[in-house]
């Protein structure tokens, strides 16, 4: 059997970084092929070259034995290559059918198109009403729009970039069912992910990238996840560990927090209750856009929440971020550049951003720049932030290094309560392990830690108790130990309106 897509020595360099160095592999028809690697390993650049978005510096590709060098995505689509991006490109104010028609070269009549959408969605178990507004759909449903848009082109190769990051575990199962069915019909799937268990359950072959090079290939079903992680990272990772501690007094108490969103696209918080004790890590899971940002803003003090936020028995709902920091309630938001740190300011200046009060970095209203520089250096040293020094602008750091700086800046201030949103998002595996360990050590020293994250594995690994945020409502917390993925998925709200269409064989497995 000849390979559907074969890639030979693809190289692409950007100023200062080689994104892909002589990458070669082949995808067979009907194969689910995983492209595995850390952030920055070069997966995205590679698929962008296959999809015609980026031109390779060197190397060749062939599709079905013929030379293949798409100049633009349209050429790639014409050749039978389709791609579902991590970030959707849909218009919220248009219907599903209208969105799909916009992406087509020659859209059929609206009525015919709606029928075709219904046919495809039924065939592949992806229920979708062509008449609904995209703005009303959940993230999982929006992804279905993108997938159906691709399937209408009858692709021979479907590329999926991190498709499960926005899905609940139940939705992931449905997606996998669809992908398996497609593969059985002969469509090849190039599946990009860094989630090892998913790859083990779905993929036939895996190509592992590290720093732009192919470092290994393997058959995921035959190796352990730990083995693949080592290949991906290049060293073995220690799981974070901690001694068992008895939770102490309640430090943070949120009582009936109800909040209207500041923007029309925000999520309202509905009667959120939570308590966190000294020495405890509370994990809050949830698919993006279910109120995480709003919850963090209410806890940090960016949005006032009178009477709803209590710190060590005192109502802090009315006071602003700086006053809350003085009392020991510290936060690290998800967005590093622009929210947790000012992009064009140096690390020294960014150290002052949150540490001014607790580290005494001002005297009589004047900033103590020498002290700030010393503190920035402390953070850099303690958290292994790779940077030439504290005078470098924040935007010059890689995402992972800046994240280490942001988390380190808060932890070194010795918080009573630390709230972090997506602490390891976009951070490479070894840095992520360091950050998790630092959070656990902080809790062990008697602080209360709240971790808001979409990475369920991470939450189950470090949390004492786990609860889920779903459409602005927070579930009852449960002990994290012994919680199964299925239970977690149900806490997250399950699969949106999908229960009745779960195929029979899925239940039998």
């Amino acid at each position: 059997m000849t390979a559907l897509l074969s890639i030979d020595g693809l190289t692409k360099a950007y100023p200062g970084v080689v994104a892909n160095a002589s990458v070669s592999f082949a995808v067979q028809p009907g194969e689910v092929h995983a492209l595995l690697g850390e952030n920055g390993a070069g997966k995205s650049t590679l698929v962008k070259m296959i999809y015609g978005l980026v031109k390779p510096d060197a190397g060749a590709m062939s599709l079905n034995g013929a030379a293949y060098a798409p100049a633009e995505p349209r050429a790639a689509r014409a050749a039978g290559v389709a791609m579902v991006f991590q970030h959707f490109s849909l218009f919220a104010a248009l219907s599903v059918a209208e969105n799909i028609a916009l992406g087509m070269e020659n859209p059929p009549k609206p009525r015919d198109l709606a029928q075709r959408i219904r046919d495809v969605s039924e065939t592949y178990g992806l229920p979708l009403d062509p008449g609904r507004m995209v703005g009303d759909l959940s993230a999982g449903e929006r992804q279905r729009v993108e997938i159906i848009r691709c399937l209408l082109q009858d692709p021979r190769l479907l590329i999926m970039d991190e498709p499960t990051s926005v899905l609940t575990p139940q939705e992931v199962e449905i997606l996998f069912h669809t992908l398996r069915k497609l593969a059985a019909e002969g469509t090849a799937i190039l599946y990009i992910s860094h989630k090892l268990e998913e790859i083990r359950s779905l993929c036939d072959e895996a190509t592992i990238l590290r720093l732009g090079k192919v470092v290994a290939t393997c058959t995921p079903r035959e190796v352990t996840a730990a083995h693949m992680a080592e290949l991906m990272v290049g060293k073995s990772l220690a799981a974070p560990r901690r001694a068992a501690t008895e939770p102490g007094a309640v430090l943070l108490d949120v009582r009936g927090l109800t909040l209207l969103p500041a923007s029309p696209f925000g999520t309202p918080l509905r009667d959120v209750h939570l308590t966190v004790r000294a020495g405890e890590v509370l994990g809050i899971g949830g698919v993006a856009g279910n109120g995480q940002d709003e919850l963090l803003a209410a806890l940090s003090g960016e949005v006032p929440a009178p009477g709803a936020v209590w710190l060590e028995g005192a109502d802090v709902g009315r006071i602003g971020p700086d006053a809350r920091r003085a009392l020991g309630l510290l936060c690290a938001p998800e967005e590093r550049l622009g929210h947790a740190a000012a992009p064009d300011m140096s690390l020294t200046e960014n150290a002052v951003l949150t540490a001014r009060r607790r580290k005494g970095l001002d005297r009589g209203g004047f900033v103590d720049w020498r002290g700030a520089r010393v503190f920035a250096q402390e953070v850099i040293a303690a958290f292994d932030v790779r940077t030439p020094g504290p005078d470098v602008a924040a935007r010059a750091l890689s995402g992972g290094n800046l994240q280490k700086f942001v988390i380190g800046r808060e932890i070194l201030q010795d918080p009573r309560v630390l709230v972090v949103n997506q602490p390891t998002w976009g951070v490479d595996a070894s840095a992520a392990a360091d950050i998790r360990q630092a959070l656990l050590s902080l809790a062990q020293k008697g602080a209360a830690v709240v971790v808001i994250s979409q990475d369920l594995d991470e939450l189950l690994e470090i949390s004492d108790r786990f609860c889920a945020l779903n459409e602005g409502r927070l579930s009852e917390p449960r002990p994290a130990r012994g919680l199964s993925m299925e239970q977690v998925g149900l806490m997250l709200g399950g699969a949106h309106d999908m229960h009745d269409v779960l195929p029979a064989e899925e239940g039998a497995q």
Binding site: L53, V54, G320, P321, L353
Partner: protein, 361 residues
């Protein structure tokens, strides 16, 4: 194909070099314009930039004029730069300048003919308060009703001009002035005069205030928490809120300070160089100060230099009109080129320019 690549950190070298380069490119482009008008470009550039300072015939008159013109420009631009740094766009300094002048002059004239030494300080205070109050209108409208401060502050300039016309022809008109518009002459009355402090330097209290403002702004921006918060709010508004900066307070503070400084500048002008409230005593310093603020990179020392340079082009421009018959509009175009080239060359400090082809990414 020319490509722009964003620098990881803004180039410090280019930040300093672009204003100098902009002046040079303006000289070249302006020279071409003068040549097209049939004037000798080299002579025109020399008259604009060198003769006011070094020519024996003009220097005695024009050297003091340098400080007289630069003083209000610097004072206003320093105030504006604080707001511009924080992303608060006060475009109406001209209006605050006028209202400050009217309030300060009104205060002084109310005590006429007393020559009490406290009157002049009182006038300065009244001028600052007037400018502050005029700037509070866009400030409060912005913080309460989310109006756009650019539009409101700009439109209030025309309101201020209407008030000025009414003051000069009506309620501040000189009772002994035989019905001519314009107030009593403040600069010729001991109680209200803002005199030249050192003979033949052009140095008056407004210039002193401008220098103090430069130093104060430098300290504020580099050493004080408030200056840090101003910069933070301008660069990353969300991070500023996260850091605990109160946006409402910052808007009112920045607009208030720039209004007060513009009002003071107006008072110093009307009690010194201009001499009296007249229908057109204002000559657009409030608008030119916007150019000065940007030409000086919103940096206090830069504004000091930019103010002097701008004053020079004013004086030299007048001289060129006089000596070579270059039309006034060509001089204005020349000044406009300066801001244009500065903003265009700004790209260099944030981007690297590369030549050659590259795939679209």
């Amino acid at each position: 194909m020319i490509r722009l690549i964003k620098r990881p950190t803004p180039s410090r070298g280019w930040i300093v070099a672009t204003p100098v380069l902009a002046v040079i490119v303006t000289m070249i482009a302006g020279g071409i314009m003068f040549a097209l008008l049939g004037k000798d470009p080299f002579e025109a550039i020399r008259i604009i930039f060198l003769d006011p300072l070094f020519d024996d015939r003009f220097a005695a008159y024009s050297r003091p004029q340098l400080l007289v013109k630069a003083g209000p420009l610097i004072l206003i631009a320093i105030g504006l730069s604080l707001g511009f740094r924080a992303g608060i766009w006060n475009i109406g300094a001209e209006g605050q300048y006028i209202i400050g002048a009217i309030c300060g002059a009104g205060f002084g004239l109310a005590f006429y003919p007393s020559e009490n030494v406290l009157i002049f300080p009182g006038m300065v205070m009244a001028g600052a308060l007037g400018g502050w109050a005029w700037a509070m209108i866009p400030g409060i409208l912005k913080t309460r009703f989310r109006t756009n401060e650019i539009l409101v502050s700009l439109l209030l300039v025309y309101v201020a001009e209407a008030i000025l016309a009414s003051a000069a022809t009506n309620w501040l008109r000189n009772p002994d002035g035989a019905g001519f518009p314009g107030s009593r002459n403040l600069s010729r009355h001991a109680g209200t005069a803002n005199p030249e402090l050192l003979a033949n330097t052009g140095m008056h209290w407004g210039v002193v205030a401008a220098f103090i403002a430069v130093i104060a702004a430098y300290v504020l921006l580099n050493k004080h928490v408030l200056g840090y918060q101003i910069k933070l709010a301008g660069q990353a508004p969300r991070a500023a809120r996260f850091a605990g900066v109160n946006p409402t307070r910052l808007v009112l503070l920045c607009l208030g300070v720039s209004g007060a400084l513009a009002g003071m500048a107006g008072l110093f002008e009307v009690s010194g160089p201009a001499g009296q409230i007249s229908i057109d005593f204002n000559v657009g310093y409030g608008f030119t100060a916007i150019i000065v603020a940007f030409l000086g990179r919103l940096h206090p020392v830069g504004i000091l230099l930019a103010g002097l340079l701008m004053a020079l082009t004013y004086i030299g421009g007048e001289l060129a009109q006089l000596m070579m018959g270059i039309p006034a509009s060509a001089i204005q175009a020349f000044q406009g080129m300066l801001l244009f080239f500065l903003l265009a060359l700004d790209v260099l400090s944030n981007y690297q320019i590369k030549f050659g082809r590259e795939a679209v990414t």
